[in-house]
């Protein structure tokens, strides 16, 4: 067994756990934060995406014990004091979800895209940066619209990005 202290959605968490516990298992089974989902075994679908220290990662491919001292944000921690995050609002407003299973990972990825690339996102950038998230329901059409709108709204709502936006390496 190993010990772990981290912050999850702003709250300190300590646990003793089997080292093979994946972050997604720790969130879902230990903390009962079941908004983070598992949709594949090969780190591709992105249903499990959460933020670790402000960056999107796949919780199915991360050992919980490797995140000692880290700050983790899940879909449950995105709304602040009951007010939805602008990206959550945008997904609802633009019908960016159907069955809802990929949605938490999609929204966490979308916020990460804005954090990395800023508020003015073109369709090509959004589509390319959603590479690590698979949706089977929407055909992505409305997800792309939602991400663009959510990105703009984040600027309007004074949702500061966590890092200065940077240009793509290309």
């Amino acid at each position: 067994m190993a010990t772990l202290s981290m912050t999850v959605n702003g709250k300190p968490v300590t646990a003793t756990l089997d080292p093979r516990t994946l972050l997604v298992q720790f969130l879902r089974e230990n903390l009962r934060l079941t908004g983070t989902h598992v949709g594949c075994d090969t780190s591709q679908c992105g249903a499990c995406v959460v933020h670790v220290d402000g960056k999107a990662v796949k919780a199915c491919t991360t050992l919980a014990v490797s995140l000692e001292g880290a700050s983790v944000t899940t879909i449950e921690g995105l709304a602040v004091n009951g007010t939805l995050h602008p990206m959550q609002e945008a997904f609802r407003e633009h019908h960016g979800l159907q069955c809802g299973f990929c949605t938490p990972g999609m929204i966490m990825s979308a916020v990460d895209i804005v954090n990395r690339r800023g508020h003015a996102l073109d369709e090509k950038t959004i589509r390319e940066d959603l590479d690590g998230n698979i949706c089977r329901c929407t055909g992505y059409h409305n997800i792309v619209k939602a991400v663009a709108a959510g990105a703009e709204a984040m600027a309007g709502h004074g949702m500061e990005t966590k890092e200065p936006p940077r240009q793509a390496a290309e």
Binding site: R20, L22, Q44, A56, K58, T61, L63, S66, N133, A169
Partner: protein
């Protein structure tokens, strides 16, 4: 996953000490190959030595005519590094196109190079740029480092600490992705340093990353896509699978090489 013990050393030296002590131990870098393999029960290390807390394995710096990248630098960090973008933009470009954004936040250059997946991107850059892989014990040139499918010159107990890339005058990378996995079906990195021209191909070789001497020779006359016209790679020794047979991959080597040269020459 099978059970294992978990260790989180604070330095490469401590990590090496643990690695020497623990039988069947494995190094955990970004974990994006090792953990999925363990989840499928295809690997069963008795101990995992997580390099995540080794501060001495981090950092990217320009040193003279080289860029030095700490082994635990993530793909996102390499892609975003102003030093890399300025010194070897093609390397930053390559890093920005590995996997997907989430993978780039965890996957590391050290892990990628040590694993030498035949469809990984970094081996092509290392080979074409003539990188030096620095371990806790020695320096190994890329030419000597990649020895076969998932095989490298690393000895037991050896840990990559950094990768040193010499600056080149021109470089470019072009990748044709596997439509499903998004790994390189064929990736070609070209680099020109004076008269030394290197073309390194990943994703296609039965034995992993390799150089394409005929293309290098053709580019010596003039480093331009036109020099490659009519040049075809043989399908011998090229991978075939359900996504692409050897003939198609061999054809793509030519296409990607021309694209990489075009990128390197800004055309």
């Amino acid at each position: 996953m099978y059970a294992f013990t978990y260790h989180r050393p604070a330095s490469a030296r401590q990590a090496a000490g643990l690695l020497a002590k623990k039988e069947e131990a494995k190094i955990l870098a970004g974990g994006h190959t090792l953990l999925p393999t363990m989840k499928q029960r295809l690997a069963a290390p008795s101990a995992l030595i997580d390099l995540g807390a080794c501060a001495d394995l981090k950092g990217i710096a320009r040193k003279g005519r080289t860029v030095v990248i700490g082994a635990m630098s993530t793909h996102a960090e390499v892609a975003a590094s102003a030093d890399v973008q300025e010194a070897i933009p093609a390397l930053a470009y390559l890093a920005s196109h590995i996997g997907d954004p989430h993978v780039r936040h965890r996957g590391t250059i050290g892990g990628s190079v040590a694993n030498n997946d035949p469809a990984a991107d970094y081996p092509a850059a290392c080979l074409a740029l003539g990188a030096t892989i620095v371990t806790n014990q020695r320096k190994i040139t890329a030419d000597d480092f990649f020895t076969g499918l998932y095989e490298t010159a690393l000895e037991e107990g050896e840990i990559i600490t950094k990768v040193v890339f010499p600056l080149v005058s021109k470089a470019g990378y072009a990748k044709f992705r596997n439509p499903a996995s998004r790994y390189a079906l064929v990736g070609v990195f070209v680099a020109k340093r004076g008269s030394d021209i290197r073309v390194a191909v990943t994703g296609a070789g039965e034995g992993g990353v390799f150089r394409w001497p005929e293309a290098e020779e053709a580019l010596k006359a003039r480093f331009a896509p036109k020099s490659l016209e009519g040049l075809k790679h043989s399908a011998d020794g090229i991978n075939g699978d359900i996504h692409a047979d050897a003939e198609y991959r061999a054809h793509l080597i030519g296409v990607m090489t021309r694209q990489a040269v075009a990128q390197a020459t800004g055309k």
